[in-house]
């Protein structure tokens, strides 16, 4: 039982290889094995979305995926989206529009929002609320999160237009 498996992941563009028990949950792999601590553990029951990462282009809750399932996948976390010196427009917008208070849900929020804006580049408030329904925030009341995502969408669309 519990033979370790040879796991290969690509996390934020970097190839990772290691041995792990298949039962290891991806969120623990990221946080404790790879020291990528942006994705947070909130509820650990696939409700809160604090652990949201992008796996092969899809938003997924990393607390509800075994590392064995993710074997061979490309994973993007908040660390792969932007950093202190090169903030993603969503990160800038969350900062400017007070889209966070305690900040615990924010990495998951922004990681999810990057996919939402890929799917719907100019979302309505309703589309934002529906698309972000898998991410809970206990501080903001969501108003400023919606505002931040709208602002980031406008910023990103303007930048795209200017580039064309």
């Amino acid at each position: 039982m519990s033979n370790k498996m040879h796991i290969k992941l690509n996390v934020n563009g970097k190839a990772e290889e290691f041995l792990a028990e298949p039962r290891e949950l991806l969120i623990y792999t990221l946080r404790e094995r790879l020291n990528i601590t942006g994705p947070h553990i909130g509820c650990e029951t696939s409700h809160c979305g604090a652990c949201t990462v992008t796996i092969d282009g899809k938003s997924v809750k990393a607390c509800t995926m075994f590392v064995a399932q993710a074997n061979g996948a490309e994973v993007t976390t908040i660390e792969g989206i932007g950093g202190p010196d090169d903030l993603h427009p969503l990160q800038t917008a969350f900062k400017e529009h007070h889209g966070l208070q305690c900040g615990y849900c924010t990495p998951g929020m922004i990681t999810r929002a990057t996919k939402l804006l890929e799917d719907i580049p100019n979302p309505t408030e309703e589309e934002i609320r529906f698309g972000m329904a898998g991410n809970l925030c206990r501080c903001t009341g969501y108003q400023n999160i919606v505002k931040s995502i709208k602002a980031a969408a406008a910023e990103m669309n303007a930048a795209k237009e200017a580039a064309e």
Binding site: S2, S46, K58, A68
Partner: protein, 284 residues
């Protein structure tokens, strides 16, 4: 929350899956997206010494629509259902239902096959498939067989699937007429307090056929033949609605839990079914 240790398998074809199921019997479980099974394993309520991940098997992720029926592979996700325009045109009730399941991240992983095969009374697809008179394809050591959704569910988590069989596809006769999936839940991501799936056809102003199934109001989904029959031949007026709701209440068997006492659930079931019928009728 660390689940018990298990052996992990990712076979590349169905023969490999069936071989493992034959070898390990009920010590083995197949997994699609895992969003029902993994939470149960984390709580150690499900003991799965041998976990068979289906993600490596090709041919289970297709949606095909022909002139008579729709075939949905077991690994088609709820997100795939929502995004498929031809499917939404052919059977809009599928998208309407999938949009009411969980949240975007969970819908990216959760599959149709897992939802119907798991046998959780809270899942939405089983009631929907009973409403649509779908059938499930099961493949095992003795070959392939089809079981009607209306005959598939025996008790909570108990289905007609044998331990060495895999559910590979859902086949739905092309639905006709108006439709509605109406669900009352406490919050996003919650199971239904009550939900109703309704398909109705009309000739002139008279109901020609109706199909009604209810979710999370018994230990299995409830296809209510009596409620369906109560609408046929009527103009779906208030008397017909009352008769259908009354018939449905005779078929469900809710239990008290954290979603409320039995009387409340029956009340909600009535409200939800009435709304679903009226919406389906307005679209017929």
């Amino acid at each position: 929350m660390i689940p018990a240790a298990f052996e992990y398998y990712r076979p590349s074809d169905l023969a490999g899956v069936i071989e493992l199921l034959e070898e390990h019997g009920d010590d083995a479980r197949v997994m699609a997206g895992g969003h029902s099974l993994i939470p149960m394993m984390k709580l150690r309520m499900a003991d799965v010494p041998h976990l068979i991940d289906l993600q490596g098997i090709s041919g289970l992720s297709d949606i095909t629509i022909d002139t008579e029926s729709i075939r949905i592979g077991a690994l088609v996700t709820q997100t795939n259902i929502i995004c498929h325009e031809d499917l939404a045109a052919a059977a809009p009730i599928l998208r309407e239902t999938a949009l009411q399941i969980a949240d975007p991240q969970v819908r990216n992983m959760g599959t149709v096959g897992g939802n119907v095969a798991n046998g959780d009374p809270g899942n939405d697809m089983p009631g929907l498939m009973q409403c649509l008179n779908a059938s499930f394809t099961l493949i095992g050591p003795d070959g392939e067989r089809n079981v009607a959704a209306r005959d598939f569910y025996e008790a909570a988590y108990m289905t007609a699937r044998e331990d060495d069989e895999v559910l590979t596809a859902v086949t739905i006769p092309l639905p006709e007429g108006g439709y509605a999936y109406e669900k009352q839940k406490r919050k996003i991501g919650d199971y239904a307090t009550a939900a109703a799936a309704v398909q109705i056809t009309k000739i002139g102003e008279t109901c020609a056929s109706a199909s009604i199934a209810m979710t999370n109001l018994s230990d299995i989904p409830v296809f209510s033949e009596a409620a369906s029959t109560a609408l046929v031949g009527t103009s779906v007026d208030d008397a017909a609605l009352k008769a259908a709701v009354g018939a449905m209440l005779g078929d469900i068997d809710p239990t008290e839990d954290n979603r409320g006492p039995v009387a409340f659930k029956k009340h909600v079931a009535g409200v939800i079914l009435r709304r679903a019928i009226l919406r389906a009728w307005s679209r017929a």
